[in-house]
């Protein structure tokens, strides 16, 4: 639990996230926890609810996110996009097998179980994407790099 937050919201994803959310909620002093939700995935409905929390929050608020990396990154991107700072977000990642990879060509995001350094076909334009070890702050997705870039050029 972040001791310097005046108010705290907690969002967890899946069963691994649920366990952490319960620990965090139990450790948060009474009256400080303003929102506590466990969702299956960082889907549109969950991210919309999160955005509403961020929009109405006052400075002094902290957001805590727990669960698989793919969901935590997507939620963090929504929060930072609305002006939250890294110092105001705490994350606990329970696994990172699943990734969102953005295509530099068609901008579509592909979800797949793929390690960094491997390749995945883009579901938008079918180009082969090399999964680069860099996460976009804006989208929370890994950067895909066209695997056959040299051949095209």
């Amino acid at each position: 639990m972040d001791p310097v937050g005046r108010t705290v919201s907690v969002l967890g994803f899946g069963d691994p996230g649920r366990a952490i959310v319960h620990d965090w909620a139990a450790a948060t002093p009474a009256g400080r926890l303003t929102w506590c939700v466990v969702a299956e995935r960082a889907d549109d409905a969950t991210l919309t609810a999160l955005a509403a929390q961020v929009r109405t929050a006052r400075v002094g608020w902290r957001l805590m996110l727990a669960g698989p990396e793919v969901d935590v990154l997507a939620a963090r991107a929504v929060a930072t996009g609305l002006g939250l700072l890294d110092a105001e977000i705490r994350t606990a990642v329970t696994g990172a097998d699943h990734k969102r990879v953005s295509c530099p060509h068609c901008r579509v995001i592909t979800e797949a179980e793929v390690p960094v350094g491997a390749e995945v076909p883009c579901r938008g334009c079918a180009r082969r994407l090399h999964v680069y070890a860099h996460v976009s702050r804006r989208t929370g997705a890994y950067l895909g790099f066209m695997a056959d870039a040299e051949e095209i050029a």
Binding site: R6, R58, V59, G60, L82, G83, L84, A87, E88
Partner: protein, 325 residues
């Protein structure tokens, strides 16, 4: 009195190029506060600057930093407002002695207190003559449609630029003429502002300390709190030891003694000109430890990189500061 100083060429790498400007107007801004308008003698346009920037004036044998109060658009004349400090080291008396037509050496503007571009709302807090950078912030915020408010505290009747500030800010201004009223107002603002807000404070050291402490207690991360101190106002600081990595020498720096003075006392020569954190001359590379930056010279990026320190005013957050000397 007329003082005509030659423009100084940029000689050392850290030094900023200088302009030779002419006093175009002198006005009374409040009791003891002189507002100067500076122009290029041949009418050439002056470079623009980020809101909250300052210039360094060569005041006889001293160099002093003053905030620019304009919006910062390229081509604007430079405006500064200077409070006469009878107990000061002469810089303010020099400026108060200037008359229309006098020429003086003025550095290019330096930005060390700019608004954060991504902020959703800007809270400006000014105490006394600390209004000067805030006037610049407010003008630019109005111009660019940024959300802001200004809390201005000053002694009864002694508010510099009071009418101008009111005209620029309108409803977004609150003025307090008593210290308790000012502090209450600032605390109330810090307790309830939307996430994404940044706060900027300039004024006497106790006001800055109050804002920093209150913001921290209310859960504001340090990244959202920006302060500009008057350079004459530095506290003696905590003791620390400078480790000179090349020579292996250790130099203790007691409270009240600057790192520069301690190095000089140990026989280590470091070039210096202003000795108040504005000219950029005394920069020393840091190899270990975290500097406590108190200068007006380094940019925000250079500060956070933490690999250089202006040793005339800055100190150390850690017990030891490793220097490349």
């Amino acid at each position: 009195m007329t003082a005509v100083l030659p423009a100084r060429p940029a000689t050392t790498p850290g030094e900023v190029p200088e302009l030779l400007l002419e006093v175009a107007a002198v006005a009374h801004a409040a009791d003891g506060v002189r507002a100067l308008t500076l122009r290029h003698p041949d009418g050439a346009p002056l470079p623009g600057y980020a809101p909250g920037s300052h210039v360094v004036l060569t005041c006889g044998d001293r160099r002093n930093a003053y905030s620019l109060t304009g919006e910062g658009a390229p081509g604007e004349a430079y405006r500064i407002s200077v409070l006469l400090r009878p107990d000061g080291r002469g810089g303010s008396a020099f400026v108060h002695g200037l008359a229309v037509g006098d020429r003086l050496a003025v550095s290019w503007p330096r930005s060390a207190f700019a608004p954060v571009a991504t902020a959703r709302h800007h809270v400006l807090v000014a105490g006394g003559i600390g209004i000067t950078p805030m006037l610049s912030h407010a003008r630019a915020a109005v111009r660019w449609g940024r959300s802001f408010e200004l809390v201005y505290g000053h002694r009864p009747g002694a508010g510099a630029h009071r009418e101008e500030v009111a005209a620029v800010c309108g409803e977004r201004l609150t003025v307090h003429e008593s210290t308790p009223g000012m502090l209450d107002a600032v605390a109330a603002v810090l307790a309830d502002r939307p996430i994404g807000t940044h706060v900027y404070v300039c004024g006497p050291a106790p006001l800055i300390d109050f804002v920093e402490r209150t913001a921290e207690e209310l859960g504001w991360p340090a990244e959202r709190v920006h302060a500009e101190r008057f350079s004459a106002d530095l506290d003696p600081g905590e003791p620390f030891t400078a480790h000179l990595s090349r020579s292996g020498v250790r130099v203790p720096v007691p409270p009240g003694v600057s790192l520069l003075a301690a190095l000089e006392g140990a026989g280590v020569a470091v070039p210096s000109t202003c000795r108040q954190g504005v000219c950029g001359e005394c920069r020393v590379a840091v190899v270990s430890g975290r500097p406590l930056h108190r200068d007006l010279y380094l940019s925000e990026a250079e500060r956070s990189a933490g690999d250089a320190v202006m040793c005339c005013v800055s100190r150390s957050l850690d017990d030891h500061l490793g220097l490349d000397l």
